[in-house]
Amino acid sequence: MSLKKLMWRFRYAEWSSLLFIAPAISLFSIFVVYPIFQTIWLSFWKWDRISPGVWVGLDNYKKVLSNPEIYSAFSHSLVFVLFYSLIPIAVGLLITLLLLRVKIRGESFFRAILFLPQIISTVVVAISWRWIYAADGPINALLAKFGAEKITTAWLGNFDTSLIAVGIIGTWINYGLAMILFLSGAQRISQDLLDADRIDGANMRQEFRYILIPSIKGEISIVLIITLTFALRNFDIVWNATQGGPGNSTNVPSLFIYKSAFVNRYVGEAAATSFLLAIVILTVTGLLLLARRESHD
């Protein structure tokens, strides 16, 4: 076969494969790529959705970055990283380790129950937690019963506790996801390995460090990426639980975007904030993927 013919075949194969992925590419371009470019484009305009837009260059970025509230909003997101991502991963790992060592009857039932928070609508979750956290809610009732009435408070309405209280809602939602993915990864661990390890006298800590963690490294990084993204772009839980309050104590960047775009109609500023948030999320997930690749190498 001549070289020319070979090249033709290769090119034909490339174009025909492109044809197969064309529907997916088209949908992706229309609903993902185009809106991204449109958002970047809008971030250079001052536009109120009524009058014609005015080109302002980087002014929207300057405005957003000179607003002290945006930094406090990003700092709240960082706190949420702890509650939405790191703690759920720790809890998920703990449950996985326990289930690895202890066989419980009806394990799949408990697994389904523990995963439930992940599939309930976040609006329902936020409203339910609002009742749980209320001044006359069950948490305070329990505290009062055990003589700790002095520390009872409206957990979501108190400036000192609201951020942590919202964070705990995120923990409750995400630990199920972590657990399920870790458990599915742990099923790959051979029983022979575990038996040999236990005959050699490995304790729980050693089993965790030398068997569980290396076996589910992939799952851990996937959960980390999903939950980190969730923590940084979180809107629905905060909006339905506190609306960013009391004051601005639970405000997050997504709330800024929502209010700027849909309430105050500062579309350019909303687009600029969205782009900045996307950069932060991409940077964090990019670094994680890099670390994952390096650890695989």
Binding site: F37, I50, S51, G53, A154, W155, G247
Partner: protein, 451 residues
Amino acid sequence: MFKKRLGILFAIVTLMITGCSSPGSDTGSKANTADVISQPVTVEEVAALGDITLDVWADAGEEKTMKILVPKYEAMYPNVKVNLTLKGFDDLMKTVVPALAGDPAPDVVQGNQGYGVDGALVKGGLIRKLTDVSTAYNWGSAYNPDDFGQFSWSEDGSQYGTGELYGMSPVGEFVGVFYNKKKLANLGIALPNTFDEFAAALEKAKKAGETPIILGNSDKWPATHVFGLIQGAFTPASETKDLITGKAGSSFISSTNETALNTMRDWITKGYFTKGFDGVSADDATAKFAAGNGLFYMGGTWFGGTIGEGLGEDAGFIANPPGASGKHAGTGSYGLGWHISSKTDALAASVAFVAMIMDPAFAPSLASLDRIPSATATLEASSALLKDMQDAGKKMFQDAGLTFYLDWSTDTMYDVYTAKLQEFMAGKIKAAEIMQAIQDNWDTFQKSRNG
């Protein structure tokens, strides 16, 4: 190959960017403002439009009203089919402006007073002036013309409170004091007629172990209504309205506002409000009061249905107890204004629709739904609570005491006001700081508005 792929990528990016035209360049092109209404619209004029559909957007709270109005309207104008879209308040506020800027736009809509929504609609030339309609239907005799300011704007939308009329509402919605009659009697407290008597009643209720005021503020706005009532006892209503309508030289920083703020803070430290109010929603708080908790509830007339249903004959309502001036003043206004799109092709039908809901003859229908008609005529009340609310309304209307809503004053005031008030109520900032924050927001907005 790499260069080629880079070329393709560059081409795609360029295509995407150039595909994005200048935003907003295709809006507001079809304004139809030439026709003047000099006489009430006749059935024949509407019939001349042929078979048409009238697109109406309204707040979901209007559902019951629309169930009475729309069949009546369609019977009178059989060639018109009303296509009604009901939206929750938040949803309506976020979509009505872009909807009127788009094409096709609804013919008749409800907006919201203030710079945030109505101001944007006027500035964008999206709604039609109704001054001629008001004159043709003589709204000035059925309604108090002093109240028209909340729907009046200069033609460029820069000045609020004066100029042309752009909307109108047939109902009043204001904040007052709901009370539990049975509890008030059991505690031996007389119905307060003044603000001092009200404060004394709160003290007595607290001493008796009762929660004096039920408040749920996790939605952030309820406390602004409570503050509006306290403010009404100290600050003249005209001063507050001047600030909200953007009158030059107005200021929120005043000794009377400071006194009102400190009174509110004092009540909080004395434990007059629901414990943990920032963690309780407005709906939950209303439900608690309706279930018999607490003595007073400082809330809007729109809660009358829930509270009346829960407390029955024990539910009472008074206008805000007046301060030293003797004038009743507090948060409130007419309901969401009805507007006509400047692009409508069915002007006669649109005017007929708005005129029918504004017709004083329709007021008994509104009253039958426990709403407070803003028409000056006296009406039969269907319940004791509604009678209380109507009486309170008369006092507020007579004293020109509806001080509107502070968040109308700028497009971002809601965020600043609600957040700072929560901080102030929690003792995080002082009265001077919240007043300064509100004033700064107002000054910045006025500066940007005036160029």
